[in-house]
């Protein structure tokens, strides 16, 4: 075989190999990462449910329900969005670093907790790693976003959404978009990437607090979904 032929053959084999590796990587992103997150979510939810089953002083009036205790990297709530499925319940962790977000939606440390005055901010993957926020663009004004903690169900209702620059940190302020303003309302903000499979922008969905229901009264009807 001539040198030229050996060279072109080797190049061809190399290119085919690179192509295969890229294909495999796509498979890893679209399938492998979901397997990882599904396992993490399953375990975290099991832990959370067991933790919640521990006897605790059960508050009966909404005024005295304490906010959940959070610890970086640990689960503390379930996010329920009936519009995305009656069984849609994602385990929310404290923290928005890469490792935490692989396991599920993460709460921005330092922002309000569920039911507190200010902004409860949660980030989640739009694609890959279980893609918990894949379809939050489908949420319409009035749609229910429920946050279940050890003590209560916090019901928020979607107000609006917008697409912002990746640097728009003011969406996480106590009053979204208004840095330095004292909050008078309880709001919830979800952030994810936009468009899908891109990091060009961020999709932000805002919701406003509606009501809180103590755990003892059971799952509120609006969180049961269709």
């Amino acid at each position: 075989m001539s040198r030229w032929r050996v060279a072109t053959r080797t190049l061809g084999e190399l290119l085919i190999t690179i192509g295969l590796v890229v294909l495999l990587f796509t498979g890893y992103e679209l399938w492998g990462t979901n397997v990882y997150t599904a396992k993490a979510q399953h375990e975290l939810r099991g832990d959370l449910v067991r933790e919640w089953a521990q006897p605790a002083p059960a508050p009966t009036t909404p005024a005295v329900i304490p906010p959940p205790r959070v610890q970086l990297g640990h689960a503390f709530a379930l996010l329920r969005i009936p519009r995305l499925g009656s069984d849609y319940a994602k385990t929310v962790l404290e923290g928005v670093d890469v490792t935490t977000l692989k396991k599920g939606p993460g709460h921005y440390p330092g922002t309000a907790l569920p039911g507190q005055l200010g902004n409860f901010v949660v980030s989640g993957h739009r694609t890959t790693y279980g893609a918990p926020f894949n379809r939050i663009d489908e949420l319409r004004a009035g749609d229910v976003v429920g946050v279940e903690t050890s003590a209560a169900y916090y019901v928020y209702r979607v107000t609006r959404n917008e697409v912002v620059e990746p640097t728009a940190v003011d969406v996480t302020h106590p009053v979204p978009g208004q840095p330095g303003v004292r909050p008078t309302q309880k709001v919830l903000t979800m952030t994810t990437c936009h468009p899908k499979y891109s990091a060009a922008n961020r999709l932000i969905v805002y919701a406003r607090f509606d009501r809180v229901v103590p755990k003892t009264q059971g799952l509120p009807s609006e969180l049961r979904g269709a």
Partner: protein
Amino acid sequence: MSVYPWLWRHLPGSGWTRVAVALVLVVAVLALLFLVVFPWVEPRLPFNYVTVAR
């Protein structure tokens, strides 16, 4: 001689043993990719940034 024929010729054994060795090699390469290389590359690619930051 190009890469894969060269590899094939240098695999130990003959007949089905060689096929088995080749399969083990393929599985090893796949495991290396899925368990080490891809998890390392993934956070360095701009597909998955969901938070806002300066």
